[in-house]
Structures are given as C-alpha cells and as structure tokens.
Point group: D2
Chain length 361, copies 4
C-alpha cells in the first residue's frame, strides 16, 4: 500500500505529456507517440497505468484486419484495454474511489439506460463502446475512464488485476450454469482457455479436458490443472466418451473460434449438456443443427464481456481464494516493445503478455 | 365417460386382426393391411386407438426420404405416433391406469437407466426408441405400449388428447424460460408453430409475432392469436424492431427448420434474448456465430420431445385452462384416407390432420 | 398527450407554494399545509403529481404506530409514495426524460454502489431510503425525485401508472418462478393480493384460489378472476387438496401478514412448491419448520420492493396486454379528504384509494 | 474387485439366519437378534451389508422419542439406513446391477407415480417410506431393497459409500444454488454440517465459516477446511460482517435444528442471500418474518433427502475428485457395540460412527 499511496504524488501537472501507443492511420502498424495526458471530466478518473496486457483484439487493430477496419476508432487513437493502475486524479462527481487505489477496468463503456442495461444485462448494452476500440485506450502511461468502470483491486498485483478482464470472460463462460462435480471440455488453450481451466478446477469440476493443436499450449493446459490435454487432431470425441462412462462431457467452453473445435465440442457434449461460445469466429460456421443441437437437447450460450458486476465479484473472489493464473503470463515487456509483443501473440508462442507503460523500453 | 367405459367391452378376443397402416418395404409408399392385434406384455397396455394425427415425420416415412431410410423400422412395420385411445387390456404388472381410461402416448420409449434418464432428462435418453419409428406405431386400430408411457387424458376429447404430443413440443420450446410480459416471434406456422402461438398467448406474452411464407398459415396464425402475422419475405426484422421500441423480441421459437427463418430470428432477438430451436433442419445451416450469437449474448436451446412429465402436466393444464388448439385441426379422415392426408400435409394446404382408425374409409 | 404536453406550462415559478399532506410531529395525525414547491437538484426532476394512492404504510405513518416511530422522517415531512405525474422541470444532468412525460415513481432511493446494487439486487439496497418514509413524499402537488427513479408510463392513465408500484410488488412476488399452468393460492385480498390474482390469471395460472375473512374482499377477488374465493376460517386446506387432485397448490402468495394465513398456505402448498412472503408481519410467527418447510422441501421467498427494472418492464407489459386492475380502485378523492381515505383503508371497507393532489377538496 | 467378486459366493442359502439390530417393542431400547435372511422379491436385490453408519434418527428410534413413536415401524423391526454392501442375490426382473457390485442405498422408497415423483422431485414423494423407519432396515448382515434404490459405488470403500447418504444431504443443501466464489456459513457441526464444509470448499466457496457450541466439533470443522470456526455463543454476526466487507454471507446452511442458530444465520446472511434449512427442529421456532426474511429479500430452501439422482451423481463425483470426508468418521464398531455407538452420538463426543455388521463384537 505504501507504493500505491505514494503514487498519488505522481498525478501529472496540467499540460504534461505521456508515452502512448497510437494507431496513427487506417493502415497496418502502430506508433509510440508523446501525447497530452488526458483530463478526467465529470464522473471520470485519471489512472496511471501500471500494467496493460495484450489481447488478440489488439493484434487485429495493429494488423488492421477487416474487423478492425470496421470497428476501430477512427484513427489516430490510442488502443489497448486490459489494464490496471492507480487512481491519480478525479473529475467532478467522481468520489467513490479514493486516490491511490489500484483499480482494473471494466472495458465496456455502457449507456446504463438501454433495455439491456436496465435489466441486468449491461454487458450486452445496445450502445456499448469498448475501451481502446471506440474510445482512447490504455496502452499509455495514463488513461481516463468513467469512475463507474473502475474495479477496486487493492489485494492484487497490477498484472493480475489487469488480467481480471479476460479472466472475467472465462468466469462468465464457465458459470452460466453450475460447475461442481461436472465434467468439462475446454476447446482452445489461448490465454482465456487456459484461465478457464483454472476456473473450472477451483470450482470443483470433476474432470477438465482441454484441446488445442499447439503443443506449447497443451503443456500450459496441463500446468493450469487440466486432467487431460489432447491434440485436437486426434480422436478427441472417442477419448472423452471413454473418460466419461460413455456419456460425454457436461460442459463445453469453446475458446478457439474454430469451427472444427466447435464440432468436436458438440459431438463430445452429453445430451442435455451446455456449451459456452466465447472464441470469436472470423468466418461463418456450418452446423448440422438437427444432429448437433436439436436432437441432443443442448443449450448454447453466446458469451461476451463480463456481467456487471456479478462476474467481477466472482473473479476477484476466485483469485483471493487461490486461483493462480500467473502461469498464463509468459512475457512482461516495456510498452516500447509492443511490436515484439504483437508478433509473439500472432505466432502462438506466447501465453499472456503484459506491457508495462511506466518502464522504458 | 359412458362411451369410454363402454369401450372396455371392445377388448378384442385373442387372435383377432385389425386394420393398420404399414410401411411394407424399404421404398416409397404404405399400405393398409389386416394384421394381428398385438398383445400387451409385462408392464404394457393395449390401447384402442380413437385418434391418430399426422406428423411431418410420418410423411418422411411414407415418402422414404434419407432420414426415414436411416431411422425407420426396419419395414415391414406399422407407423404413426401422435395418438389417443382407450385402455382395453393390461399386461402383467400394468396396474396404474384403469381399463376404459382415455390416454395419450408419450412417444419416446426411454430406457429409464441412462445418465439422462436418471437426471431429469429422459426426453433425450441415450437409447430412446420412438413409437412408429423404431417400434410398431399407432396408425392402427390397436397399439401396445408401456403403461409408463400412457398419459391419462380423461378430461379431453380423443383428438385433442392425441395432439398433446406435438403441443407438448410447443410447450417445451416455449417454457425453457419464462414467457409472461415478454415479446415473442414464432418462425414457421406449421401445426407446432401455430400451437405455440396459442401457448404464448395464454401464458401472458406481451406480443406474439409470427412468420411464414404460406398465406393460409399466416391466416391461421392470426386465428390462433398472433398480434401480427408477417410474410417472411418482407423486412421482418425492421418491422419487429419498430414494434418493440427498437429492442427486438425477447423470445424466438424457431419452428420451420429453415436457415433463412433462423437468421431472421437471430437478427430479431434482443441482446441477451433466447431462441428455441425446434424445427428440424434437413440441411446444415451456416451461421455467423460471432455476430448472430456471441456478441448478442443470447441463449439457444435445442428442443426435442417433451420433459417427462413436467411438460405433460403443463400441457394438460393449459388445455384445461382454455387453450384452444382446435383451429389447428383442418381435417379429420378415416385411416384409409391416409394417402390424401399425406398429400395434404406435403402440399402445405393443411394444418393438423387427424386420422380415425375406428372409422371405415 | 395533449393534456400532458400542456402540463409543461404548469411548471411553477420559483418561490411558488403548494398544498401537501405533512406529518407535522411525532404523534398521531397529519395536516394539509402550504409549503414551498421543492427544486430539483443535480440529476433530479420536479414532478406535478396527478395521482397518489394510499398504501397501508401511509396509515401506519398517520396513526404513528411503533413501526412509523422507528422508521419515519423525522417529522415534519410530507409522506405518500405511490404516485404518478408529469415531469415539469429538470435539474442539471437530468436529460433522459422529456418534459411533459407521465412518469411513475420507483419509490426506493437506492445507493447504486453497495454489493446488492452492483449485483442486480438494488431493491434490497443496504442503504435504501424510501419516498415518503425517509425522504419527502408525494402526497403533494409537486415532488422532487432522482430522474433515475422515474418510470415513463406514457401509455397509462395517471391512476393506473401510480398503482404500478404496489402492482409491481405483486408481479415480483408472482414471478420469482414460473406461473403458467400452475395452481396458486393468494392469502389475503387487500389491494396487492387482489392485483396478484389478476397477474396470475393473465400469466396462465391453471387455477387461482384466494382467501380472506372479509366478504367484500372475497367478492373483489372473484371480480379479479379468482377461480375460488374462500373464507379463511373454513377448512381451506381440505378444499384446496380436493381441487388439486390431492396434491395441493404449486404456488402460495402470502399477502396478509397473518401467521394463520401463512400456516394455511404452508399446509396447502404441494411438496416442493414455492411460497412468496410479501405481507408484512407485525408480530413474530411461530413455525414448525420441520413439518411445514423442511420435510416438504419447499422454497420460501422474502419479497420486498420491485426488481430494478425487470419488474417494471413486466408490470407495464402486463398492463399493456390487458391486465385490468381498475376493479381494485374503489375510491378517488381530493388530497384534502385524506382523513376519510385513511379511515376507509383502516376499516377494510376499501380497495385502493387514489388521492388527487391537483383537485380541491 | 477381487474381494467383491468373491463376495458373490457369500449369498446365503435359503433358510439361513443373520444377526440384526431390532427395535423389539414400542419402548426404549433395541436388541441384537438372530432373524431369517430376507429374500428379494420382484425388482429387488439382496445386499450383504459391509458398513452401516449411525444417524441421529437411529438414536431417536432407539430412545423411542415422540418422533419415533409417531413414525417408526411398527415394532418389531430392524432399523438403520445409511449403508453400503455387496449385491449377493437378485429377485425376478432385477437385472441392472451385477452380482458382486458394491452399492449404497438411496434410503427413500418412493412410489414413482405421484405428482412429485413424476416432476423430478421424487425426494419429496407423497408416499415415501424410509429404509429402517417404515421398512426393515440395514443394521443387519443382509438387507433387501428395490434395485432402483441401489447406487453403484464400486470406486469407493464401503464406509465412504455408506456415508454418501448423509453426504448427499449436505450436497443437496449446498447446491440449491451456485457456490463458487461465495461466502458461506454452516451452523451446526454435526456430521452433515462437517461434511458440508468439505463440500463448500471443494466447490470453490470463497470463505466457509462454521459455528457450534461444542469445541470438539469446532476443531473438526477446522480440520474439514473451515476458514473460521466460531463458538455460537460469541458475537458471530459482528464477526462475519467484519469478515465480509460488511455485507454478510451469501450462503447459510442451517444444520443444527436450533432456533438460535437459525436467527444467527438469518442475521448474518446478506440481503438477497439464501438459506438452506436441513437440521430438524424438534420444537417450533419463532421468527420475525418481516425483519429476518421479507425485508432482506432472502430465499429459504427446505432440504430433505437427496435429488434422484442428480445429487448422487454429484456426490460421487466430488468424492472421486478428492473430497475427503474421512475425518468425520471417528469410530468404527462391530454391530454388537450398538449401545456404545448410540451413547456416543447422543453425548456429542463423536463424529460419524460406522457399524460393521459382518464383524463379531
């Protein structure tokens, strides 16, 4: 707490500039720039960013793929959204969170007034704007956000606090229904898939199976507690039936965005089981709805974001109980090494990479 | 009750034959044959069939399409499954239901011992055999069934009792979540779609919208209580958004088995809404899972059969409260007119057709 | 809409006074006083009150019973909370609801930041302050409220709009679980009990039974659609078992606050059924928990307030579908006739009484 | 499996007698008697009892308290119900479970035909008869039971298999709603309370608090994993608020049957939390329903028995995952030492006691 309290003194004087990673134009690439520190408006806070981890979305933005072209910005704009930092200034009306507190960001700026926001479903607000996608992001020394989006995380380290955002996706996907005593399959062992293995295990899942085609990731799956980590190119369905008295698994968490993985999950899930779809599909998937969904009587959940704030309470609780997601972090780099970070993520030879905006490259 | 009690006297002497509609061989067509009245074994009852309605499945069997080739029989076998009749004899151990009682059939012969059957999900039993598909059916003057599959329906007419089976599909699809005060879209106005409109209305849905491309069916949808019956080729999504303060509908019941209808339903459903898939898809459907499911945070339910016996209790209750599904019945024909019945169903110029096995053609 | 739009012109000039019903001191009684029209602060709106109905709570406050002594005020303070009116002025930052709109009040001023408010349970906020109990109320020509507490009700009449608050209690109590096809008992036919009968009926309950000891109220229960309205001093349990094939009822809504009624409800509910407790108990109740709760495997729900805003959406939807609660309103009186209103409520010879603050007595 | 297979040879010849603990007459006491080995009828199996643990109910029967006088027998009858053993003979139609298999008993003989049994609630069957209470029990070398009541437990030891019955109570009570990431209070650290601590921990509860007034039991609570074991005579509520950021606990499992413990639980539970009532109350409890239940918006679940068979699947799964309930077993005694066992249970100086019917005293 001493270091965090000291951080209050770091509130930058008006007119100060900061280092930030900017998507400068509607083209591939990104640049470190020196830009003005933003000022918090009414209901907003200014946060000194201590950790900002890299999401696949950030790579899409940097590479400027069709999704980014349609959804980002417009440039020039800072990107990055998974973050944690210290509150160093508060705009008018922002009084809930004390200065010096370590917070993480719920990255969905929602309108709080639409049908969804008013019925407990703010995570699918009709007018959501995402940090670092539609509003200036957190790959920077400072970021401004609505105070309501800040989640106090004072019992966590900054890097774990930052990871609560993707971990929350895993928690959301896992807990749409109960977990204890159930068998589960996680398809896709990227960072969220890996974290969801830990989530399932700490919540008392009977067995957790994981698939991927990347041996490094399968090794990490085992490290996260998977009972069995299987190469998705093998006969996964037969193996899982054998492991489950012929019934198939109760739970599938689809974290890959791959149609092949989804078909495997649908074949492996027991009649009446449930499937959470979290991995983003870049292309349409073709499903035999009668055989794969209807006659099996299964439930499919589309998962995006985190429930406000049920998921956050639970995510923090699991971390405080002892959920250890640190094996998922494979690299910690200064913000200036962003290009290396994006290349590592794109190559599949990394788990989660945490960028450190306060460190010199 | 007088007529039903009298029926007990109709228990046929041993060795009697009966009229039945038989799928005689692995080829298109079917024949009326005179066959022995079956005898009830242990735990079984013999039922005199008073009404047997025609399902799309029966047409598939008669036409001998690929689904039928894979799933039926083998021939020769009587088909037909939606039925009601009078218990006229009981095998050893069948003591629950008195002789003379009007019953309908739960058409899934389940094993009661698999994982699903032992966890409240017998409707998706791993070893289900369906009446008239895997075991001899009810397009006959008599049928034998396990007593446990008989649902006492003594306050209903035979034809309405028989329709509880497909009505139960509609009830199952509608009540996977609550209905009252919610807006709903039914895509596909075949008999089950039409009945589901009535179900939604009696359960307090705020508005029920229905789509089809068949004007006769749209007229029936209105008759069943739809607030709005729309041609699916029009801009249904825009219209439904306009009717729902821009939010879209809370509930979609997909009853058509058409990918186009499903896409419309997924576009029309509000973020966080729910979709029941009941209509059988003859061919795979291609979905943009990210946009249509994941980012909308919706829930999709595969629906088959009826929950044993929650759905049956509810179905009977709704009928007794006043749910009127009789407009769905457009034809009542002697069993011998089966060919006409199948042609009518295949043509789309019919709602539900009830065959009467006790009447001469 | 013409009259409502015209109301905008009615925004009172600064310094205007208004007629209001004030609890003047910590003693029985209340007084009509001329007091300053309040001014809306940041995020607040000023509402011209068109209808304000009388709740049992208001009688407690006027009579100054122990509950009121502990919970009200302190005096002097205006009371009254069930209300509807026109937005005539908006404080800074209150921009969501246009001037001239008819609104009703969610009467719980919650803090939006506690554990409950942040997990979809704001109706049981740890720091709730209730309109007309802890903050100045609505028995007045004008009232100020947070804009967030206003529920747009532009398709309703003012008196029905005002009644959404207690109707919402009934809706909340009824829909903690599903209703369609279920049998239900409502114990206590005060206004909320009566409205809950209508709610259950429109939501497809199979049978709705009602009990009270007041014949006027039993007559109103029948008018609201109860299948059977029974004197609670008769053998209600035997009668309900007989009406439900010996099973007992699926649902009990306890609306009386009477231990005797609760015992009857617990005896009448089927094993595994559910009981909503809504009626306030002035004295402790003695329960045989083993026999009445545990061995029956039932669920008991404590019900207070309305879920924000799920209950409001549903309440408005049911009214728009055709739920008619107007038979519950037995009197409409000018605000000045408050004493008569309170006496009528206390005597049990009234349903709901609507006070009209804009009318001269 | 070798020893179990060998057990098949133990099937006793017709006319053999066995040692059994019999409640001989309607008075305190019990006797070891030599009685005929029972024969399995249709659908029944004969089981050689390897372990039979002592439940509080057995002490009530032995002491012949008012509950026993009303519910037991009639005498003379063998009692005892928590059991595991080897299938040694099968009656006609009992074909599911092979001879030689280790099974535990679901102790509720239900009718499978009532409203509850047909809607997934067989544990609260209207015509339940409990093993060792209404039908001859398992404190004997052999017992006959319906095959449907036998739960195959071939991966467990006999004593742990027997304990699945009371453990199932704990599992049932814990999982009426989700557990992971939630704070919980267990009131009463008898065997079921102690086991529920283990259940909550393995299912990812954030913190598990336990209360009792018996220091031996509090020590066992800590051994079972309780984060904090508190003397119920201290200010438990203040302490729990302090431990939960002032919110109170999310979950209360009331396992004591004490009104004082229940009041503490109701005070400690957070608004909108949930309370499972499992401990049997010998005398009525007086509750301030308004303050303790209604205004807090909580849910109360009456818990009895085990859901068939969801609870059994989950119970076995948790044991196979590593749930260790062995610390709860404090004594293992030959059946002949029954008097010592009952005295130990009555004195509170024991956890679970397992009787061994095959061993000589």
């Amino acid at each position: 707490m001493t270091t965090q309290a000291a951080a209050v003194l770091d509130a930058p004087p008006l007119g100060t500039t900061m280092r930030a990673l900017v998507k400068g134009s509607a083209a591939p690439g990104a640049q470190i720039r020196e830009v003005p520190v933003p000022q918090p408006g009414p209901g907003e806070i200014l946060v000194k960013v201590l950790a900002a981890s890299v999401c696949g979305t950030d790579v899409h933005i940097e590479r400027w793929d069709p999704w980014a072209q349609e959804n980002f910005g417009p440039p020039p704009m800072i990107f990055g959204h998974e973050m944690a930092g210290i509150v160093v200034a508060r705009g008018p009306g922002a009084t809930r969170i004390p200065l010096g507190e370590l917070i993480a960001a719920e990255t969905h700026w929602v309108d709080w007034t639409c049908y969804q926001c008013r019925t407990g479903r703010a995570h699918i607000c009709q007018n959501n704007r995402t940090l670092g996608v539609k509003v200036p992001g957190a790959f920077a020394q400072y970021v401004v956000m609505p105070e309501v989006n800040a989640w106090v995380s004072d019992r966590l380290t900054p890097e774990i606090a930052a990871l609560q955002e993707p971990l929350g996706n895993a928690v959301h996907a896992a807990f749409v229904e109960e977990v204890a005593g159930q068998t589960a399959l996680v398809t896709g062992c990227g960072p969220i898939g890996l974290m969801s293995i830990g989530v399932l295990k700490i919540a008392g899942a009977r067995s957790v199976f994981a698939t991927d085609i990347n041996p490094e990731r399968l090794a990490m799956a085992t490290q996260m507690g998977a009972n069995l980590a299987l190469d998705a190119r093998d006969d996964v369905v037969a193996r899982l039936k054998a492991e489950t008295d012929g019934n198939g698994v109760d739970i599938v968490l689809e974290m890959s965005g791959s149609a092949a993985a989804l078909h495997q999950g649908l074949a492996a899930v027991t009649n009446g089981g449930r499937v959470s779809l979290m991995g983003t599909h870049a292309v349409p998937a073709t499903l035999d709805l009668s055989q794969e969904v209807i006659f099996k009587g299964i439930r499919i959940y589309g998962i995006t974001g985190r429930r406000l704030w049920d998921t956050w309470y639970r995510t923090t609780a699991l971390l405080e109980e002892g959920l250890d997601i640190s094996p998922v972090i494979t690299h910690r780099l200064p913000l200036g090494d962003y290009a290396k970070a994006f290349d590592l993520v794109a190559s599949g030879h990394a788990g989660k990479i945490v960028l450190l905006p306060q460190e010199e490259a």
